[in-house]
C-alpha cells in the first residue's frame, strides 16, 4: 500500500483488493478532539459516507463503488477513480466543460435528496467524466437551505482558488437547468446576504 493523499480528515491509500485497484480511506484519530467527540464523529461520518454512496450508486450517479467497510479500523474500501481532482482540472483549458458537468452532478445529487456537505473542488475527480467523492459530511435532506449551503461551499472554493476564471455564472447556469433549482437559488441569495456580504461586526 502506498499513501496517496492526506485529505482533510482521512488518509487515502491505494492498493490491490481482490485483483482490483482500490482506495483505502481511513479516518485516523484526531488527538485534539475529545475522545468521546472523536468516536461519535468518526462513526457518524463513516456510516453516512458508505450509506450515501450506496444510495447514489443505486441511481447510477458517478461515485466510486464501495467494496467494503472495515468498521474497527474506520476504513472504507472503494473504487479507485483514475483521474485528477477538479481542483487541478480547472487549471486547464476545459474548465467550462468541467464546471458544467459538476453543476449537473451536484443538481443530480440534490434531486436525489443528498446534500454533499463539503463540495469543494478537491472533492470532485475528473476522468472521462466528473465523479463526486468524500461524503463524510453528507446528509439526506431536501431542505433548500442545505442545498444552497452546498452551492455556497462550491462557489466559495471556486472563488477562493480559481479567481482567475468567472466560474460562478457558468456553474449556476448549468445548475439552474434542474427543474427544482429556483428555490435553491433563492435560498442561496439569502444565505450570501446573511454571510460575508453583510458583515455586521461588533
Amino acid at each position: 500500500m502506498e499513501i496517496k493523499y492526506r485529505g482533510a480528515e482521512a488518509i487515502v491509500e491505494t492498493g490491490q483488493w481482490l485483483g482490483r485497484k482500490v482506495i483505502f480511506k481511513t479516518r485516523n484519530k484526531r488527538g485534539y478532539r475529545h475522545p468521546i467527540l472523536e468516536k461519535r464523529l468518526v462513526k457518524e461520518r463513516l456510516r453516512s459516507e458508505s450509506r450515501i454512496i450506496e444510495r447514489l450508486i443505486s441511481h447510477g450517479v458517478n461515485v466510486p463503488a464501495i467494496y467494503g467497510v472495515d468498521i474497527s479500523n474506520n476504513c472504507i474500501i472503494m473504487e479507485f477513480i483514475d483521474g485528477i481532482t477538479l481542483e487541478k482540472a480547472l487549471r486547464g483549458n476545459d474548465f467550462e466543460q468541467y464546471l458544467a458537468q459538476t453543476a449537473k452532478l451536484l443538481s443530480l445529487l440534490h434531486s436525489l435528496t443528498v446534500v454533499h456537505g463539503d463540495p469543494t473542488t478537491s472533492n470532485f475527480m475528473v476522468t472521462d467524466s466528473v465523479y463526486v467523492i468524500d461524503f463524510g459530511l453528507s446528509t439526506v435532506s431536501d431542505d433548500n437551505e442545505a442545498r444552497a449551503s452546498d452551492l455556497r461551499v462550491f462557489l466559495e472554493s471556486l472563488d477562493s482558488h480559481h479567481s482567475e476564471i468567472s466560474g460562478r455564472d457558468i456553474f449556476l447556469s448549468y445548475y439552474s437547468e434542474w427543474s427544482s433549482s429556483a428555490l435553491v437559488l433563492e435560498a442561496l441569495k439569502v444565505l450570501e446576504l446573511r454571510g460575508r456580504y453583510n458583515l455586521m461586526r461588533g
Partner: protein
Amino acid sequence: MRKTLSKIAIGIESTAHTAGVGLITSEGKILSNQRALYVPKEGGIHPREAANHHSEKLPDLFKSALEEAKLTPTDISLVSYARGPGLGPCLRTGATAARAFAYYHDIPLLGVNHCVAHLEIGILEGATDPVLLYLSGANTQVIAYAAGRYRVFGETIDIGIGNGLDKFAREVGMGFPGGPKLEKIAEGDVLLDLPYSVKGMDLAFSGLMTAAKQKLDSGHSLASVAYSIQETAFAMSCEVSERALAHTGKKELVLGGGVACNSRLREMADIMTKERGVKCFVPERALCVDNGVMIAWLGLQMMGADYNITEKDNEVDQKYRTDMVEVTWR
C-alpha cells in the same frame, strides 16, 4: 522592492471593543502596544458608547505609546489606522484621531484592513504563506492567500465564536468578556453532547450556544457545560482550519483574534498541526487581540511595497471585506 531605510509607523485600532495605539519599526521591532478595553455596563456592545470610550482614551494612548517608545511625532513616517471592518462609530473615532495626528504633524496617513492585519502579524512571527484561523468576537474566519488576495476559505454562517461565548456568559450572569471567564471555570472530562456544526470549511455556533444553555437549565454544572462548549467549538475551529490546510496545500497555520488567547484552543491547534506536519505560529496574546501594532505593521508592509496612497485611504468602511484588499506587498 522593499525600502531599506528603517521606518517607524504608529497604528490606531478602534474597530470594536478595543482602542489601541501601537508603534513598530519596519524591521518588526515593537516599540509600544497600548490598549484600552471598553466594557459594556450591561448587554452587548453599544457602538456609540464604545466610540465615546475610544475618543476619551485615544489621546492618552497616543501619549503613553510615544513616551514608552521615547519618540516624538517627528520620528514617525506613517500613521496607519483600521479602516474596517467594524462598527461605524468606533471606526470613525479611530480614523478621526489618526487624521488629526497625521495632519497636525504632516505624516502620511493610510487606512488598512483589520482582518488582514491579524494575518500579517503571523508573518511578523515568521510564517511565510499561512492559513490564518481568525477567532474574535464578531469574526470567525479561515483566511489564506490565493491569486493576489487574502481569501476567506471558511467562516461562521451565523454568529462569531467570541460573541457566542460572550452571550452565553452574559446569560449565566458572568461579565464581559465572557470567553476568558468561561475558560477559567471550564472543568471536567465528561463531554456533554452539543451540536458539532461543520459544513465544509464553514461553521455555525448559534445552535451550540442554545443547546449549552439547555444543558445548564437541565441541571448540568456550569463548569462542565463551559468545558463542553470549549471542547466542541474549538474542535470545530481546528477542523475547518485543517480542511483549509488540506484544500490549499499550505504548510503553516497562524492563530489570531481574541479567542486565540485561550490556552485550550492553542493546545488543540498545536496538536492538530503536529499531527499534520504543519508549522503553527501563535502570536503572544497582546498581538492576538485587537491592537494598534498590527495596524502599524500592515501599513508599513504596504508602504514598503510602494503602495500609492489615494483619497480613499483616509475613509472608513464598515464592511471592508478581507478579499477586497489587493495584496501588492508580497
